[in-house]
Structures are given as structure tokens and as C-alpha cells.
């Protein structure tokens, strides 16, 4: 019988294998098992998720074993780059989250599994679109206009992320079935990430997928069904309010235009969406070969009508061993087919402004029967918004992606020198995405061109080859262990993008293409080495070095050097602390390292070349002939690596036999040669702004995490985890010359006007600081339209009175998780919060004014309700009134599960679960959601601009999990 070491409760599903054979079994629900032991075998290997593997001697016919639980939140052995390490001996800042602790519910993209679980890691879902990704920032990000996305490594293979996008799916990560993931580990500090060198500045996320286990086959089936609904709508005027406003104005031009309906356009375009996720897996061992095979089918509607995702996924893992276990082979193959229909998100903004007094349908045949704004002759008013329901239903936007990635890894322990391992890992990531959009000619949105038809196709073909040697030896006589790794890596990323002409609905060419395809490609070659020296299990020194060569840079700037060093002192192992009863663990860590970043710059930015344009909309006429043009591209010969130097000091602690564990980290990061949009001296190149290495930025922060097992009783347990992180990022330099009069580079395009921007990158401030006028308020606290403070005191208000006010980056990010188990019931929740982040409420700034209602272009428009609060008649885009505090506390997840136990003749283990996501949000922010992600396009820094946000739904899920064994 197998029981828990702490409370003696029986453990089901423990895998039992007779050592040195293929014979094994699993425990039943009551923890018991029976097994026939062949002659000559003398020990059993017991393995179970979240428990330490134990080998016991076979003594007698009855064996009782107590298995020791590994730390519930943080597994005992964690993956690090090119190997694993014991958590207690880790040098760097590494957080690992196992599948048991993942967020539950309807989760389509793996990044959302660990939201709120890791200190200093902010995961902001992009919105409610099925399969949409998240903006992930580890310690605030290290770049301004390069990528801030972490490197994803799945089973040792770096995979395409948002930087190398795949057409036909909203987010490449959604092509990975979360149910196949065993563990997600986040490497945060440079000592942990520097082994990944030039791609590590924004942290590394290591994903380990589920593997086969020895023993009899175990079949697992889980299914869930969910229902989602918009949690909140944007606050716009009602039909009655619009009607009475227009009538009160008394202008017959407009009163004539009023309709008699009461249409809530947001309700017309959103719906209650249903999703169903099914997963089936079998794992076990055939002969001595462990395997796991899984299939998944996800069928998810978006809350925006027409939005839909079907995802079929399959995964195979086989891990045979040869030559007396000297050669381990690990094969992982994943395949996904994702078919999407994308709802037209233009309908979201149109629904805010479309006149609520109008009906959806006009009763006429023109424009597909939808009500549209037309003039007296029935011609479209081209300035008016288009019918939101028409926008939705008249656009067919479909994409399909087939993706497969995987690897084969050979790990060979040398026969004559077993301390030395040679590891070869060959991986691939291939995808084909294609799709089309079609808008019929009668659709108002594309009436002028006779509809629209676009086609796209893209292939991704990435290859990875890695080889390393690892030498790991205990030198008992000097109480030391040395662990040395040296390796080589080759990474080739090739995308093929096919170009198709832009057509109208009758397939007339509106815009031709110059080339049939383009094949952007980049290659990275690396050499790396690491030494971990442990003395007396107390003092640990680790050092690593990596050099990366990238095809993105000219030969003279091609190679980057990325060293790191770290020391760890396991203080609790010292004799003078061993006597302290309540202190079970104390560890001090210090690390320093250099990492790089090259994502976000073009593949060929250093090469001067010309392009021949065959774009048939951009020709020039000489005589009666139109000529295609040939033009030179801007280039910067000395492009080089963005380099981040970071230092980290950390303390890990455990009290009361590790009932309470936690860690504190302080870090500083300095990024130099920041890749950014650099203003060139005009006349020096073929454009005036290029991406180049100018500028520096610093990040400083503190992170604290505490996990506690508050109550730990056989029938009743309560665990809680809390984390909080503070981060401050400051631009320290932006230009080649230093000039205090330089305001900075404006950024953050907004909706409204032409070419308006609301943010600025300025030296001495956070990136993306809002750059606005200071609003003047009357004595009742109401903003006075168009009146701003003369901040520089020159008696006039102009550009020189703009000031930098707040930023979209949170000062603090918080996460709180807790679970309570009573007998067979478990209740768990995750809360997330940000403090000190601000958002520009672009919806209110753009349509929160009364003059939009009686629109000068002779139609009636709806306005945000904010218009009646401020009384503003005209747009005041640059008022700091619209920069609003978006601090929030969100209950991300609330779930209740019931472990039914054994059913169907004791053959099946069953668990049922009910779950709610996005339960509530507490915020002062006045827009629809304080978490403003990005919409579609890279770069996807916290935009901080709230416009056309796909609302995050509230989702209710019911699920059941069956285990057959």
C-alpha cells in the first residue's frame, strides 16, 4: 500500500515498476496494489506526479511505502537550459509551474496557464478572440521597439512566437494544446537565461510536454463545455438619449434623420459563445518503451459573431532506451490543424458609433439589405460608419494552419565514462497557413471598389540542431560536484510568404504584386559552455558563456558574447542554522549576466539593396506611359546586438518543514545599444527613421513570492500563494548626441484625426509615457473644454506645454492563488492585479463629445456617455483627462472540483469540475476593461491605448475527467 508521507492518505495511480524489467502496475484508489515479482529482481521503482520518485527494496510479500510529496507549487527538479537542476541548488531566478497548478477552465493558448502564478511575469490576454495570445512581459521587458516577447523553448526546441508570425491563426502559441503540457518553467535572471544568449533578454519560457510512463496503459479522457458572454459593454448613449439630444438641438436637418428603433448595436454583434474541448490520451509502456499518445479537439465560438476556431491536435511521445539504458532516445511529435473563421473586428468600433435609433435592416435590397447612411439619391455617405451587423455578416475571413513541430533527442551516457553524456537534439517547426477574405460587392464597407477578395499563404520552416557534452562527477574526497556542459547550436528560420494581388469581389485586380513570393530568413549559430561547481552541497558556483552569430548583422558586428556568473549559498545547511527548528530552508543567490536581443529588426537591415516595385498603384507617368519605380532601401551597416546586463540578488526560504516557502529577488537590468526607431540625420540615408542601436534603458525591481500550506489535514487542506513584483523602467539615453531640448520620439498612434500620437519615449521617463496637456478643471471638478495649463509659463499654450504623465506600465503586479480541499471537494481561485498602470481612454476621447451626434457629414452618430459628463463639444485628444488609472484586481479563475472516486466497477477514476473565468474586476478605470492588450500586430508592447478592444468574456465551464486503469 502506498500512502502520503504527511497524512497517511492512500495514493492512487502511483506507477510501480519492477526495476530492470518491464513489469509494472498502478495503485488503486485505496493505494493498494498487487504485483508478481519475477525471480532475481529485488527492487521497485515508484513514481507519481508531484511525489519524489522512490526505489524500495522488495522485502517480504507486503510492502508499505510512504511517498514524500515534492513542494506542491514548485517541483523538486526543474528544467534549466540544456539540463535539469535540483530546485534547492538553483542559482538563478527560476520559477516552475506544474500542470497541477495551471489555471483551469477554457484555456486555448498555453501562455494563459500560468497567468498570476509567477512573480514578475505579467500575462495580459489580448482579448476575447478564440485562440488569441497574450502579451507576456518578464520583468517589464528590456526593449523599446525590438521585441519584448520571451523565448519559448518546447522540449528543447525554440519555436516560432509572435515575432515570426504564422498567417491564418491569431496567435502561433494557440497551436499548442495546453493539455499536452506537463510543466512550464520561467527563467527570469541573466544567470539562468544567458545560456540562451542572444535571445534571452526578455526571459525564457521552457515548456515540457507530457511523456509516457512505464506500466500498464492508462487512458485519460477529459471533456468540458463552456459558455462565454461579454462581461461588460462600452458605455454609449441609448437610443432615447440620442433621440432627445437631437430633438433638443432642434436642427431639422438632423431630426429628419432620426429613426424610431432602439438598437443596442453591441448586443447585435456579440453573442453567448459556446465552446467544447475534448482530450484523450493513452500512456504506458510497450515492452520497455514508454509512450504517450494524445488527441484533442477544440471547438470554440468567439463572443463576436462568426468568430470560430476548430482545433485538432495530436501528440506522440516515445522514449526508448538502449544499450543498458546508456542511450536514451526521446521523440516528441506534435501536429495541429487549426481552422478559424475570424469575425470582422471593425464591427466593434462601428457598434459604438452607429446610430441606435436605426434598425439593423433597411427593408430595401441595397447594400445587402442593411441600413446604411445614404444621401437623397441613395448613394452611400462615405464618411458615415458602416452598419456593424453588415460589417460582420458581409465579411468572410477564413484561415487554416497546419503545423507540426517536434524533436528527436539522443542522450548517450558513454560506456567507458558514464559521467560523460553526449546529447544530440534535432528539432523542426513547420507550418503552412493560408486563407482568404471575401467581401461582396454590395457591402457598404467596400462598395467603392466593388467588394474585396484577398488571399494569403505562408509557410514556416524552422530547423534546430543542438549538440552538447555534459560531464557530471561527484568528487567525494573533496566534497565536490562538478557539472560541465559545452555545446553547439544551429537555428535556421525560414518563412515563405506568397503574395497575391488584391482583388475585388469580381476578381478584378485592384493592386498587383511585384513578386510572387518572398522568403525572409535568418540563421543563428551558437557555441556555449557552462560550469556548475558545488562544494559540500552548500556553496554553488555557476558560470556560463555563450557566443551567438546572427545573419542579421554584418560580419564585423555578427558575433555577440554573453557570459554569466552566479553563486549560491545554502545557509540552512550550515551547522549554526541547522539547530533552528522552524527554519527548514535558507538560500542566498547572487547572479550577474549579459544577454542579447535581435528580434524586432529586419533580416537584412545592414545590406544596401534596391527594390523593384511592380505595385500597379504606385507608378509614375511619363508621356502616356506609367512606369514602375526602382528604389533604394535604407540600411545601417553597423547594426548590432541589443545587450542587457543584469544583476540579481535573491533569497529563498522555507519555514516549518517548508509549510511556508518563498523567495525575494532584487534585480537591475541595463540595456544598451537599444534597438529603436532612430531619427537619422536627414539626408544621410534613404529615409529618416530606421531601426538602429541607439539608446539605453534601465529596469529595477523587486519580487516576492510566498506559498503556504496553511492547513494540512487528511480531510481538510488549505494552500495559498501570493506574489508581488515591483518594476520601474527608465529610458536613460535615446540619441547619439545629448541634447536636453530633445523631447523624445513620439509613439502610440490613436484613433481620431490623422497621424495623432499620444505617447513619447523620453530620456528620464518610462517608455511610452503619455505626452499630454494638463487639463484645467472648474470649481466643481468638471474639465473645462480646451483649457490647459500653461506649464512653461510663457502665456500661451502650445507644443511646449505638453508634459509626460504616467505610463501604461504597472508599478506593481500581483498574483494570488489559493485552494481549499475538503474531503473530495476542492475550491480554487486565482486573482491578478496591477497597480499604477494608466490607459488612454481613446473611446471617450474620440466619441465622448457631443458634436459627433449631429455629425457635420449629415448623419447621426452615437457618442460615448462620457460626452454628457464632460459636456465637451469637440475632441480634446491631448487632454490628460483621458489618461486614466487602470489599476485593477481581477478574479481570473474560480473553480470547484469534486473527486467522485472510482466508478464503473472501480475501473474508472472520475473528477468533475465547474469553473468560472473572469469572475469580476475591481477598477477605477472608466473604459470597458483596464487590461488593454494589443490587437493583432507586432510590436505588442502594452499599448496603453484603449480602442476597438475585443472584450474579455466571462466564461463558465463544466468539465469531467475520466481515468481508465
Amino acid at each position: 500500500k502506498i500512502t502520503d508521507s504527511k497524512d497517511g492518505s492512500p495514493l492512487a495511480d502511483v506507477s510501480i515498476l519492477v526495476k530492470g524489467s518491464t513489469i509494472g502496475t498502478r495503485t488503486k484508489a485505496d493505494g493498494t496494489f498487487t504485483l508478481r515479482i519475477p525471480a532475481g529482481k529485488d527492487s521497485l521503482e515508484l513514481t507519481s506526479l508531484n511525489y519524489a520518485t522512490q526505489v524500495v527494496a522488495i522485502e517480504g510479500t507486503t510492502i508499505n511505502v510512504r511517498l514524500e510529496a515534492t513542494n506542491a507549487a514548485l517541483g523538486e527538479v526543474v528544467v534549466i537550459g540544456y539540463g535539469t537542476a535540483k530546485k534547492k541548488e538553483l542559482t538563478g531566478s527560476v520559477v516552475s509551474v506544474g500542470s497541477k497548478d495551471f489555471q483551469k477552465g477554457t484555456i486555448t493558448s498555453p501562455d494563459q496557464l500560468i497567468a498570476g502564478k509567477v512573480p514578475g511575469v505579467s500575462i495580459t490576454p489580448a482579448g476575447g478572440q478564440p485562440g488569441s495570445g497574450s502579451t507576456i512581459r518578464i520583468r517589464g521587458g528590456a526593449s523599446i521597439s525590438g521585441s519584448n516577447d520571451p523565448l519559448y523553448v518546447i522540449d528543447g526546441v525554440p519555436v516560432a512566437n509572435s515575432v515570426q508570425s504564422i498567417s491564418g491563426v491569431s496567435n502561433p502559441m494557440a497551436l499548442i494544446n495546453p493539455n499536452d503540457i506537463e510543466n512550464i518553467t520561467v527563467l527570469k535572471d541573466a544567470a539562468s537565461t544567458a545560456i540562451y544568449g542572444s535571445r534571452a533578454s526578455n526571459g525564457v519560457i521552457l515548456i515540457t510536454t507530457k511523456k509516457g510512463k512505464s506500466g500498464k496503459p492508462v487512458l485519460n479522457f477529459s471533456t468540458n463545455v463552456s459558455s462565454s458572454k461579454a462581461a461588460r459593454y462600452v458605455d454609449v448613449l441609448s437610443a432615447a438619449q440620442v433621440r432627445s439630444y437631437v430633438q433638443a438641438q432642434g436642427d431639422t436637418t438632423y431630426t429628419k434623420l432620426l429613426g424610431s428603433a432602439n438598437t443596442n448595436w453591441q448586443k447585435e454583434i456579440f453573442r453567448t459563445a459556446v465552446a467544447n474541448d475534448n482530450n484523450l490520451s493513452v500512456s504506458g509502456a510497450i515492452k520497455k518503451v514508454p509512450y504517450r499518445v494524445s488527441v484533442g479537439f477544440l471547438n470554440q465560438d468567439g463572443i463576436l459573431k462568426n468568430d470560430h476556431l476548430d482545433r485538432y491536435s495530436a501528440a506522440i511521445n516515445v522514449s526508448p532506451k538502449f544499450f543498458d539504458d546508456h542511450l536514451k532516445v526521446d521523440i516528441n511529435l506534435k501536429g495541429t490543424i487549426a481552422k478559424s473563421r475570424f469575425g470582422n473586428q471593425d464591427a466593434i468600433s462601428s457598434a459604438l458609433t452607429f446610430d441606435p435609433t436605426q434598425t439593423v435592416y433597411s427593408g430595401k435590397s441595397a447594400y445587402g439589405g442593411y441600413f446604411e447612411w445614404v444621401d437623397a439619391n441613395g448613394a452611400l455617405n462615405t464618411n458615415a460608419p458602416k452598419n456593424p451587423v453588415g460589417l460582420l455578416n458581409q465579411k468572410e475571413d477564413r484561415g487554416q494552419v497546419n503545423r507540426s513541430f517536434g524533436n528527436i533527442q539522443f542522450d548517450y551516457k558513454l560506456h567507458f565514462l558514464p559521467e560523460l553524456r553526449a546529447n544530440l537534439n534535432l528539432g523542426y517547426d513547420i507550418a503552412k497557413g493560408d486563407g482568404y477574405t471575401f467581401i461582396p460587392q454590395e457591402a457598404a464597407s467596400n462598395y467603392s471598389t466593388g467588394g474585396s477578395h484577398t488571399i494569403y499563404k505562408q509557410k514556416v520552416n524552422n530547423r534546430v540542431g543542438e549538440f552538447f557534452l555534459n560531464y557530471n562527477k561527484d568528487l567525494k574526497q573533496i566534497k565536490s560536484n562538478i557539472n560541465v556542459t559545452a555545446g553547439y547550436g544551429y537555428y535556421d528560420n525560414l518563412t515563405t510568404t506568397y503574395n497575391y494581388p488584391t482583388l475585388n469581389a469580381r476578381d478584378s485586380v485592384l493592386k498587383a504584386v511585384t513578386y510572387a513570393y518572398d522568403k525572409p530568413r535568418n540563421t543563428l549559430i551558437s557555441y556555449y559552455a557552462r560550469l556548475i561547481y558545488t562544494f559540500d552541497s552548500k556553496y554553488i558556483l555557476s558560470a556560463s558563456y555563450r557566443t551567438d552569430g546572427s545573419s542579421k548583422f554584418a560580419p564585423d558586428y555578427r558575433w555577440g558574447k554573453f557570459p554569466s556568473v552566479g553563486v549560491t549559498w545554502r545557509a540552512s545547511q550550515e551547522n549554526f542554522l541547522k539547530g533552528i527548528d522552524w527554519l527548514s530552508d535558507l538560500k542566498v543567490r547572487g547572479t550577474y549576466g549579459v544577454t542579447g536581443n535581435q528580434d524586432g529588426i529586419g533580416n537584412y537591415g545592414y545590406i544596401g539593396s534596391y527594390s523593384y516595385s511592380a505595385n500597379n498603384t504606385a507608378l509614375y507617368q511619363f508621356g502616356n506611359t506609367f512606369y514602375y519605380t526602382t528604389y533604394g532601401a535604407a540600411y545601417i551597416t553597423n547594426l548590432r546586438w541589443e545587450e542587457t546586463r543584469s544583476a540579481n540578488i535573491g533569497l529563498d526560504f522555507g519555514f516549518f518543514k517548508n509549510r511556508i516557502t518563498g523567495s525575494i529577488d532584487y534585480y537591475e537590468k541595463k540595456t544598451k545599444d537599444l534597438l529603436g526607431p532612430i531619427t537619422l540625420p536627414v539626408g544621410s540615408n534613404f529615409t529618416n527613421i530606421v531601426t538602429a542601436n541607439v539608446g539605453n534603458m534601465s529596469n529595477k525591481g523587486v519580487e516576492l513570492a510566498i506559498n503556504a500550506s496553511i492547513i494540512n489535514h487528511k480531510d481538510f487542506s488549505w494552500n495559498a500563494g501570493f506574489n508581488i513584483a515591483y518594476n520601474k523602467n527608465t529610458i536613460t539615453s535615446l540619441t547619439q548626441s545629448t541634447d536636453s531640448s530633445f523631447a523624445g520620439n513620439t509613439t502610440g498612434g490613436i484613433t481620431g484625426g490623422t497621424g495623432n500620437t499620444i505617447q513619447i519615449h523620453s530620456v528620464g521617463y518610462s517608455p511610452n509615457a503619455f505626452y499630454v496637456y494638463k487639463q484645467v478643471y472648474d470649481k466643481n471638478g468638471k474639465p473645462i473644454e480646451g483649457v490647459y495649463a500653461d506649464l512653461n509659463g510663457d502665456h500661451k499654450v502650445d507644443d511646449n506645454d505638453l508634459y509626460r504623465y504616467k505610463s501604461p506600465f504597472p508599478k506593481f503586479i500581483l498574483g494570488f492563488t489559493t485552494d481549499v480541499t475538503y474531503k473530495k471537494w476542492t475550491l480554487a481561485t486565482v486573482l491578478r492585479g496591477n497597480i499604477g498602470n494608466y490607459v488612454y481612454n481613446n473611446v471617450a476621447a474620440n466619441i465622448g463629445i457631443t458634436s459627433v451626434i449631429n455629425n457635420t457629414n449629415k448623419y447621426i452618430s452615437n457618442a460615448a456617455s462620457d460626452a454628457f459628463k464632460t459636456g465637451f463639444q469637440y475632441n480634446q485628444f491631448f487632454s490628460d483627462y483621458y489618461v486614466q488609472n487602470a489599476s485593477f484586481l481581477r478574479m481570473d479563475n474560480l473553480s470547484l472540483s469534486y473527486n467522485v472516486g472510482r466508478v464503473l466497477n472501480n475501473k474508472v477514476g472520475m473528477t468533475v469540475m465547474a469553473n468560472c473565468q473572469n469572475v469580476f474586476v475591481i477598477t477605477k478605470y472608466k473604459g470597458v476593461d483596464p487590461e488593454v492588450g494589443y490587437l493583432g500586430t507586432y510590436p505588442s508592447v502594452y499599448t496603453g491605448v484603449d480602442y476597438k478592444i475585443y472584450p474579455r468574456p466571462r466564461t463558465y465551464t463544466l468539465g469531467v475527467n475520466l481515468t481508465f486503469n
Binding site: L380, T382, N383, Y447, S448, Y490, T514, Y517, D518, T523, I525, G549, S551, P555, N603, Y604, I607, S609, Y610, S611, Y612, N615, N616, T617, L619, Q621, F622, F626, Y627, Y628, T629, T630, Y631, G632, A633, Y635, P677, T679, P681, V682, G683, S684, N685, F686, I689, T735, S737, S741, F742, A743, T746, G753, T754, G755, N756, D798, D799, N800, T856, F877
Partner: protein, 504 residues
């Protein structure tokens, strides 16, 4: 693999070509020449949603839209309701060195110079010989090269007129990140003058080149402009030279378009013997949200029946004129192409107030509407130089110099006869100040007004006030430093060789 794999780090763009291909034959040279011209016609070579320039909205980044804003919105001829970045500052005469439009114009002008420099560098005799381009082909490329030099001179003239002391780059400058030196206005005057003199013999004779390409008359017309304003640029007037070069154009065989309004219509590229050089647009093939698309659409709104202006899906409701411009016209003057009755503007943000300028119309002479992909892009070519201006230049220079004044009056009357359709508007005497008004009547919204007001000392001073000049409804004078635009602060930062103009 360890050594051979490192060769994989040499990756090249799939579709890029090198200089020897971009300039490999006379046909290839023509594609590059097309870019030298397209640099002031289009926002980019890849469509209207992209730009050669950074730091500005793509649709706003073409030459004419930027130049028109700087030359017209700052004067009595135009006023805009939009609050787009940098726009309101023009009419208020309160721009700063951070102005987005001015930065765009400055960058656009120098961008075209950079493109021309590259063409000039790639079309030397040595380069032609090394690429085996000889005989007629070589002769053709030499004409191209002279045109590139002309275009460069034109943009340096624009920069000299606007910003006085811009950076100075030539075909000898290297592409990279180096900081170009600054050239002073008087030196730039000499440079532009010397370049125009040098290319005179290298360009094709007047009216012998293809439509849309510069010939000798274009260079003469620019020289006439240069000399007319020489006093502003150098402190020394050159009126006799202005007369000489205006006369060379006048005697080169050009003739006025019969009907004034047809100069600004969609098919103004045919049957037009008045335009010396135009910037060419097309609703299908040369798409652009600036240029005449901007001039047509920004001047009308949905209420004015855009279809009747040839832009059924257009009408942006932005620009109209102050009352000062329509007030200059006699009732019978057919050049008065205005829409609406209310000429007074009391609320700057209301497009309904103020007369609309409907000089540019995207209709053919037979009232048909030309093809346009989206019913917004226009076909109207913008006349950069035309005969009408040369008559006025000659007249003003003659009146200022006090010589050949009877020719001056004659030329004025040639224009007025077309304007009135008969001799009823003819004059017998004309003052220098009268010419300024005549220029407004003849050339309004053709990007000359700011330069003219400065030459007459009326741009910043109180000698002439127009509604909302300086941001107040009655108009007010502003400081004299506004006669020159500031070097954009972004370039002052990026290029430490540059010194800001006085007053900014």
C-alpha cells in the same frame, strides 16, 4: 559543419537587387528616374498606405500636401478645420520646431534630393561605360541625369525658401549615418543658380521632352522664381535676370489654356500647352492621399455632392479660404471658383463657415469622371510651373525694376482677358502691389502665396492682416522670425552640424 555552417550567416534578401541591376540598362535607369520623380508625387513605391518617410502619417507625407500646408495654410488663402498634428499652428503663425508637417516637408524635400543624388552618382560617364551603355542609350541617360540635377535644384530651392539653411548633401555624400553639413541660404542660392546654369545645356529643349519630365523651360522657370525672390534670399535683388528667364519661357512656344478652370481638371495632361512641368497623379496608377487628391477632397464635404467633383466617395471637409481671397475678385472674373455664400469664419472648427475653393476638380473637360480605384483618388496633375506664372513674374520684376513696364501691363492683360473672357477687365496701369493681388487671383492654392507675401513684406507684419492671422479673428502681426521656418528639432538633435534658425 562548424566552419561551413558559419557561411549560412550570409543571408541575402530574396527579392533585392544591387546597384548594377537597378542601373543596368537604359530601361532600368528609367525605372530609377521614375522614382526620382515619384519621390515628389507619391508617398512610397509600395502604395498609398506606406511612406518613404518616418515620423509622419503616410497619407500626409507626399510633397504637395506638405508644401501646400506650409505655403497656403499660413496665409489668407486657406484655413483648415482639422486639428491634425501641426495643422492649426500654420494659420495661427505659431509653429514650433516640433511641427510635424514642417518636419515632413523638410524630410520629403531632402529625401528627393537623396534619391536624385544616387541617380547622379550612378549615371556618371564612367558608370555608363562600365555597364556598357553607349550611343543613343548613353545620350538618353545623360538627359535623365540632367533632369535629376534639375529636380535636386528644385528641392534645394524649396528648402532655401522655407528653411533657409538646410543640410547639404550631393552625389559625393555617402549613404549611412554621417551628419551632413549645413549650408547657409546665400551659399545655397549660389549653388542652385550654378546648378540651373549648368544643366541648361544638358536638358532637352522646351516642349520636346515627354509629358511629366523636365526640360530647359522648367529650369528657366525655376531660375525666374529664384531671381524674383533673390532679395529675400541674399539681400541683393536680381529683377533683370528674373525678366530674362521669364521671357525665355514666354518665348518658348507655350500658350495659355483657353479656359482657366480647365488647367485644374482631371484631363489637364491633354491639350495643355500652358503647363511647363507638372506633378502627375492618376486615380488608378498613381494613388496617393496627398497631391491633388488632397486638394480636391479636403476642399469639399459630403454635403457638397462629391460626385459632382469627380470623387463620389470623397469629401473630407477640411480646407476653405478666409474672406480676404474671394474679396479680391471682380464679379466677372471667372477665376473666382468658390462655393457657398458665407465668407466669414467665426468658428475655426466649422467647415460650413467660409467659402470653399473648388479650383481643383476631378472631372474631365467633357464632364465625365475619370477612372479611380476607390472614387477618392484623383487624376488632376499639379502644375508646378506654368506660363501664367511667368507673365506675372515678368510683370512684377519689370514694375519693380521700372523697365519694360508696357510689356508688364500687356502680360497682365493677357491673363485678365482669359479671366474675364473679354477685354473688360483690362488695365492700363498697374502697381507692384497690384501684382500681388493679381498673383492671388491667378495662382491661389498653387503653393506660391507664402513666398509672395514674404517678398512683399506682408507675411508677418501688420501692413497686411487677414482674418485669424496670428490666431485672432481680426488678425495680428507676429514676430519676423516666422518668415523662415524652423529646422525641425528632430534633425537638430540628430545632426549636430545644424544650427537652428534665429528666433526658434
Amino acid at each position: 559543419c562548424m566552419t561551413s555552417c558559419t557561411k549560412d550567416l550570409n543571408r541575402n534578401p530574396t527579392n533585392g537587387i544591387d546597384a548594377d541591376s537597378a542601373y543596368g540598362s537604359v530601361t532600368a535607369y528609367k525605372g530609377s528616374l521614375a522614382k526620382a520623380y515619384a519621390a515628389f508625387a507619391l508617398t512610397s513605391s509600395e502604395g498609398s498606405d506606406k511612406s518613404d518617410l518616418g515620423g509622419i502619417d503616410a497619407g500626409t507625407s507626399d510633397f504637395i500636401r506638405l508644401y501646400w500646408n506650409a505655403q497656403e495654410l499660413s496665409t489668407d488663402e486657406a484655413m483648415c478645420v482639422w486639428t491634425d498634428p501641426g495643422v492649426p499652428d500654420f494659420h495661427n503663425l505659431s509653429w514650433t520646431s516640433a511641427n510635424t508637417i514642417l518636419r515632413g516637408l523638410y524630410t520629403r524635400s531632402i529625401y528627393q534630393i537623396t534619391v536624385c543624388n544616387d541617380f547622379i552618382k550612378q549615371s556618371t560617364d564612367d558608370k555608363l561605360a562600365s555597364r556598357n551603355i553607349t550611343g543613343n542609350d548613353a545620350a538618353t541617360v545623360k538627359y535623365f541625369r540632367a533632369e535629376a540635377r534639375f529636380l535636386r535644384a528644385y528641392q534645394y530651392w524649396v528648402l532655401m525658401d522655407m528653411f533657409a539653411n538646410p543640410p547639404y548633401v550631393t552625389e559625393a555624400s555617402q549613404i549611412g549615418t554621417s551628419m551632413p553639413p549645413q549650408i547657409q541660404r546665400a551659399d545655397l542660392f549660389k549653388y542652385v543658380e550654378s546648378e540651373l546654369l549648368a544643366v541648361d545645356s544638358l536638358l532637352m529643349a522646351p516642349r520636346t521632352n515627354e509629358y511629366g519630365r523636365a526640360d530647359q523651360a522648367a529650369a528657366w522657370a525655376l531660375q525666374a522664381r529664384l531671381y524674383l525672390n533673390a532679395g529675400v534670399y541674399t539681400g541683393t535683388t536680381h529683377y533683370p535676370e528674373a525678366m530674362t528667364y521669364a521671357n525665355k519661357v514666354i518665348n518658348a512656344g507655350y500658350s495659355l489654356m483657353g479656359t482657366y478652370g480647365q488647367l485644374f481638371m482631371a484631363d489637364n495632361n491633354v491639350g495643355n500647352n500652358e503647363i511647363i512641368l507638372s506633378i502627375n497623379y492618376d486615380g488608378n496608377y498613381s494613388q496617393n492621399y496627398g497631391g491633388t487628391t488632397f486638394l480636391v477632397n479636403s476642399a469639399i464635404n459630403a454635403d457638397m455632392n462629391p460626385t459632382s467633383f469627380g470623387v463620389p466617395n470623397g469629401g473630407w471637409g477640411g480646407n476653405r479660404t478666409t474672406s480676404s481671397l474671394p474679396d479680391l475678385f471682380a464679379a466677372a472674373d471667372k477665376r473666382a471658383m468658390f462655393y457657398g455664400t458665407s465668407s466669414t469664419i467665426t468658428d475655426v472648427s466649422k467647415f460650413e463657415q467660409g467659402k470653399k475653393v473648388i479650383k481643383y476638380r476631378n472631372l474631365n473637360k467633357d464632364s465625365t469622371t475619370p477612372a479611380s480605384t476607390n472614387g477618392v483618388y484623383t487624376n488632376v496633375d499639379f502644375p508646378l510651373f506654368r506660363l501664367g506664372e511667368m507673365y506675372l513674374t515678368y510683370a512684377e520684376a519689370a514694375l519693380r525694376a521700372g523697365t519694360n513696364t508696357s510689356d508688364a501691363i500687356n502680360y497682365i492683360n493677357v491673363l485678365r482677358q482669359r479671366a474675364f473672357g473679354n477685354t473688360s477687365g483690362n488695365v492700363t496701369s498697374f502697381t507692384v502691389d497690384n501684382v500681388l493681388d493679381e498673383r492671388a487671383r491667378e495662382l491661389f492654392w498653387e503653393c506660391t502665396r507664402r513666398t509672395d507675401l514674404i517678398r512683399y513684406g506682408k507675411f508677418t507684419t501688420s501692413t497686411y492682416l487677414w482674418p485669424w492671422k496670428g490666431g485672432v479673428s481680426g488678425g495680428k502681426s507676429v514676430d519676423a522670425h516666422f518668415n523662415i521656418y524652423p529646422i525641425p528639432s528632430s534633425d537638430i538633435i540628430a545632426n549636430t552640424n545644424l544650427k537652428q534658425n534665429t528666433g526658434y
